[in-house]
Amino acid sequence: MLLIPCPYCGKRNECEFIYGGPVGAKRPDPNAVNDAEWVEYLTVTPNPQGPVQEKWWHARGCGEWLVIWRDTRTHDIMEAPDDAT
């Protein structure tokens, strides 16, 4: 069980949170992209071996959605990598 840092509540057990998936591409203007690009946006999410930026909801806590960087190999929660955009 991860220990997730909430900006309001501090480090809390993972069971207080709901996973919100990796932070993917920003939602494009659906009228400005073609079908393939739209499907790509909807279905292709980052799944790296290594640091991934993800959304978590402190649902059984303060209700805040937060974003963390987590290393998928180690579960380490970390600072954003230097080359992160």
Binding site: M1, L2, L3, I18, G20, N31, A59, T74, H75
Partner: protein, 955 residues
């Protein structure tokens, strides 16, 4: 009679005899025994039959490493697959061996031994496979032979789960663990010390060692006394640390059946530092028939002798490749047991070890190649390690030591690396990853003098021997006794190309099961290394997964039983409902709602018909409080609602409401509900009962992650408002009778509008929405007024014949109108157009959630399943909900399904709804429901069976 029990010695209480039965026979043991020590004391040699070949087996180990004797406990302690060495003896205990019938001494499955040549590794994979698997499965499952799950939960007591925090968690209360706990405890740290044994001491309980010239157990009791006096130290016995998770979370399972009716307690401990003091496990030697009853680990023989006062054999041979067995021989000799010989595979042995066994016969450079005896050891063949003729030595007990493995399970689970140490011939902890350290034997310090100052012990001095391999060797040589995996099985797997040790494990099942190969895994790795000619480091270990020892599901769940974890939710009317005979249903999101209100002697259908008729012809009322309700405030709410709903909400005027469909961005229907605009910046949004949480999450996620600069605040107000929904042609009369200052005329309060005021003296908001198709008023009041309001509604409605309406009737009424129910008509395939609700998909908005995906999917031109009404050709024929429709009723791929079918009181027949391919253009056609033994013809219609123009609800 306990014929193998010594007259004195050991940590048992001879004044407290305990009676127990094993495979139906009565025996007696003592307080302090476990089942295995008691069986050995009684001279029971054959205690099990093996998994695959049904070979007779005895007790091998003395703790959780026991690979051989698994038992099933009966009665109140019912549980399966418990190693006999981990079952504390208690009075009245009743245990049976698994894997054999009718008894381990006479086992019918033993015929498998005759066919062992026909049961090679991978036999099941190779033989019993698709398409015939279903033919073999029942027989294989029966023969597979591990214990069944208990038929019923424990008769008394409960499981519990607790969280704890510690500066230092110490796993193991052997010499190293006690020392680490004491140091941290004296420094004032919060210490959590968990040990799997019934008492502290670890290996010192089993060995006759000294510290500073005094018995080592004196040091243990002194240390335990000091620890127990420290308030900052929590010490648990019978508490196994079974998992090391991420971020230093450690799982501990505490078994202590005698306290407060708690069967087991599961601890989740978040620790600043974890000290892994888990000790070592002795490993087996591998030779012919190394599984015969009477072949035991040397350290276990020593444990039975010293800790339980049991002599498991009268004439003992020891076989070793390290010095630890010399201390065992010395203990046996001191106890007066005849030691026939010590066979040592090494060429030379340290003088200290030989001094310890002065007077005993020692054969160096000698191995055991084979054991004779079927239901018990009768002789062992001592052969020169380099080959040559051997000699038989008669004995009834063979104590063997293949060396020691540091228990690195927790270390490995913490993701710490392992390294093969050539001096120790074992994998030991290398670099840590999380905040932990290994100490004592778990870190590779395999003798007491290296752990504790003043501890006296022999140096380890191992020369590894992964398996005995001399010419002319006979008998099956087991690497994994529990799973009946032999050296030749591993060789076969390697020949068949399973060269990775993880593949070898899965193909042969070696190292799986209850014991997880604690005594044999290293020999498997060694055997692979020998065969491939590589060092053990390169073969590597298989993954050490949790749990370290089996954990019952009850302990993991703790008290989080369904109704505790997800309590039911009630409205203020629950009491009234129950008092008035309601049959209560769960209506999604754990809400308890009335299903129907039968009169005495009345069945479901009669009650539902009566309730429906009241709504259609007079008036009914239901409690609509469980509907999800959210108040949205802020100047960007209109923009936000236009984005999350398929239709336009921003054009709504204060005082009015609008029905809307909410989609997810992949074009699926998420929810439907009514939105009210309270004033310029305040909106009230309602959701279906079961989806309230999902909708809340959807909205919060969008606002916080996609549109953080939009000014929208969401407040959950479900059950901050309760409502009585009064519906039916006489509903207006009932509200007038209740007394209100709100103008109820259709001009002043039309359909889909609302007004605040008072009703029956209570502050109220009346909303004109309809889920039944009738004139309908939702009277919303504060929860504290709801019960009183409800009583007044029933009183004022009585002259009009008002009836309470349950969810069964609500279902009938909505089907008659063809209103959508998310759980019935909506799945992951239909869209608004399929449901005939294309009007809800705004053409004016360039973008809203889900639009692009719906259009994309429809552009594929694939056949759609569309919502239709159905009328069984036989009006009295009911169709089960979910029944498939097939072309012509033939046994073909389905073209749809029946989503709902109800008895319609207004039509006096069964009517229903269905999703059917191209259904919108098939009105008037006959379609067919295909049942298992029947085909039911139905007429396809528009999906509405009552007031198609909607005049009544607008009246």
């Amino acid at each position: 009679m306990q014929r193998n029990r010594r007259a004195e010695g050991g940590r048992i209480d001879r004044s407290r005899p305990l009676r127990f039965t094993f495979n139906g026979k009565p025996y007696e043991g003592y307080q302090g025994d476990n089942l295995a020590s008691a069986l050995l004391a009684n001279g029971v040699r054959v205690t099990a039959r093996s998994f695959k070949y049904h070979r007779p087996r005895g007790i091998v180990g003395h703790g959780p490493e026991e690979p051989s004797t698994l038992v099933e406990l009966d009665g109140e302690d019912a549980s399966g697959n418990r190693p006999a060495t981990t079952v504390p003896l208690c009075d009245g205990l009743s245990a049976r061996s698994v894997n054999c019938w009718p008894s381990p001494g006479f086992d019918l499955g033993g015929v498998n031994q005759l066919f062992s040549g026909l049961l090679p590794v991978g036999f099941y994979y190779k033989t019993f496979k698709w398409p015939g698997w279903h033919l073999f499965e029942p027989a294989i499952r029966k023969a597979a032979g591990l214990a069944a799950a208990p038929a019923s939960p424990p008769a008394s007591g409960h499981f519990e789960a607790r969280h704890a925090h510690a500066d230092v968690l110490v796993a193991g209360a052997g010499p190293a663990g006690l020392q680490a706990a004491l140091k941290a405890g004296r420094a004032g740290k919060r210490v959590f010390l968990a040990d799997e044994g019934t008492e502290a001491g670890g290996s010192l309980l089993n060995r006759a060692l000294t510290i500073d010239g005094k018995p080592a157990m004196d040091w243990v009791s002194g240390t335990v006394a000091e620890l127990d006096a420290l308030e900052n130290v929590t010490r648990l016995q019978n508490a196994t640390v079974w998992a090391y998770r991420e971020h230093n979370l450690v799982m501990v399972n505490e078994c202590d059946p005698d306290r407060d009716g708690i069967l087991e307690r599961s601890w989740r401990v978040r620790a600043g530092e974890v000290v892994i003091a888990t000790g070592t496990t002795e490993r087996s030697m591998v030779f012919g028939n190394n599984d015969r009853p009477g072949v035991m680990l040397a350290s276990s023989v020593q444990a039975y002798l010293n800790r339980w006062g049991v002599v498991p054999g009268q004439r003992v041979v020891l076989f070793t490749n390290n010095n630890s067995a010399y201390a065992v021989a010395a203990d046996l000799a001191a106890a007066g047991v005849s030691v026939s010989a010590i066979l040592d595979s090494r060429r030379t042995v340290a003088p200290e070890a030989l001094d310890l066994v002065a007077g005993l016969t020692v054969h160096l450079a000698t191995v055991v190649s084979e054991v004779r005896g079927h239901k018990g050891v009768r002789a062992v063949k001592a052969a020169p390690a380099t080959g040559g003729a051997g000699t038989w030595i008669e004995c009834d007990l063979l104590a063997h030591s293949g060396g020691w493995n540091p228990n690195v399970h927790l270390w490995s689970q913490s993701r710490g690396a392992l390294r093969f140490d050539d001096d120790l011939a074992a994998f030991v902890p290398d670099q840590p990853v999380q905040a932990c350290r290994a100490v004592g034997a778990a870190a590779g310090d395999l003798s007491l003098d290296r752990i504790i100052e003043g501890g006296a012990d022999l140096a380890y001095g191992i020369e590894p021997l992964w398996r005995v391999d001399v010419p002319g060797q006979r008998g099956m040589a087991f690497l994994d006794i529990q799973n009946d995996v032999t050296v030749s099985d591993v060789h076969l797997a390697l020949r068949e190309g399973y060269s990775n040790v993880e593949h070898v494990k899965r193909y042969t099942t070696a190292g799986m099961g209850i014991d997880q190969g604690k005594t044999g895994n290293i020999n498997i790795i060694g055997t692979v290394a020998m065969q491939q000619g590589v060092p053990l480091q390169d073969v590597g270990t298989t993954t050490f997964r949790s749990p370290y020892t089996p954990v019952s599901f009850g302990a993991i769940g703790g008290l989080r039983e369904e109704t505790v974890l997800f309590p039911y939710r009630h409205t203020p009317v629950t009491r009234w409902n129950k008092d008035n005979g309601a049959v209560m249903y769960e209506a999604g999101a754990r809400w308890q709602r009335p299903g129907y209100f039968p009169k005495p002697g009345e069945g479901l259908q009669e009650a539902v018909n009566r309730e429906c008729r009241a709504v259609r012809e007079g008036v009914g009322v239901y409690d609509g409080s469980p509907l999800g309700t959210f108040e949205l405030k802020g100047r960007d709410v209109p923009k936000f609602l236009d984005f999350i709903y398929a239709n336009i909400m921003s054009s709504l005027h204060p005082g009015n409401g609008r029905y809307g469909l909410m989609l997810s961005d992949d074009g699926l229907i998420l929810d439907d509900g009514v939105v009210l605009r309270l004033d310029a910046h305040r909106w009230l949004l309602s959701t279906s009962t079961g989806h309230a949480d999902a909708v809340n999450q959807h909205m919060e996620k969008l606002l916080q992650t996609e549109f953080p600069d939009w000014q929208v605040m969401i407040t959950t107000v479900t059950s901050q408002w309760n409502n009585a929904t009064i519906c039916g042609p006489r509903s207006r009369d009932v509200i007038r009778a209740l007394g209100t200052d709100i103008d109820l005329s259709p001009e002043a309060l039309p359909f889909m509008s609302f007004c605040d005021g008072t009703v029956a003296g209570f502050p109220a908001r009346i909303v004109r929405v309809s889920f039944t198709g009738e004139l309908s008023y939702e009277v919303n009041v504060a929860p504290r007024h709801m019960a009183a309001m409800w009583d007044k509604v029933m009183e004022a409605g009585a002259p009009f014949g008002i009836l309470p309406v349950g969810s069964e009737s609500s279902h009938v009424l909505r089907v008659e109108k063809g209103f959508l129910s998310l759980g019935h008509e909506v799945d992951g395939t239909v869209d608004a157009y399929d449901l005939g609700m294309g009007w809800a998909m705004s053409k004016k908005k360039a973008d809203y959630t889900g639009k692009r995906s719906v259009m994309l999917r429809r552009a594929s031109g694939r056949v759609r399943r569309e919502l239709v009404g159905i009328l069984p050709v036989d009006p009295d024929r009911q169709i089960p909900e979910g029944a498939p429709l097939t072309p012509g009723g033939r046994k073909e791929a389905t073209e749809g399904l029946v989503t709902a079918c109800v008895w319609s009181v207004v039509n006096n027949r069964w009517v229903g709804l269905a999703l059917l391919e191209n259904g919108h253009s098939r009105h008037g056609e006959i379609a067919h429901v295909r049942m298992k033994d029947d085909v039911i013809p139905i007429t396809i219609t528009k999906p509405v069976f009552h007031d198609p123009e909607g005049k009544l609800m607008r009246s």
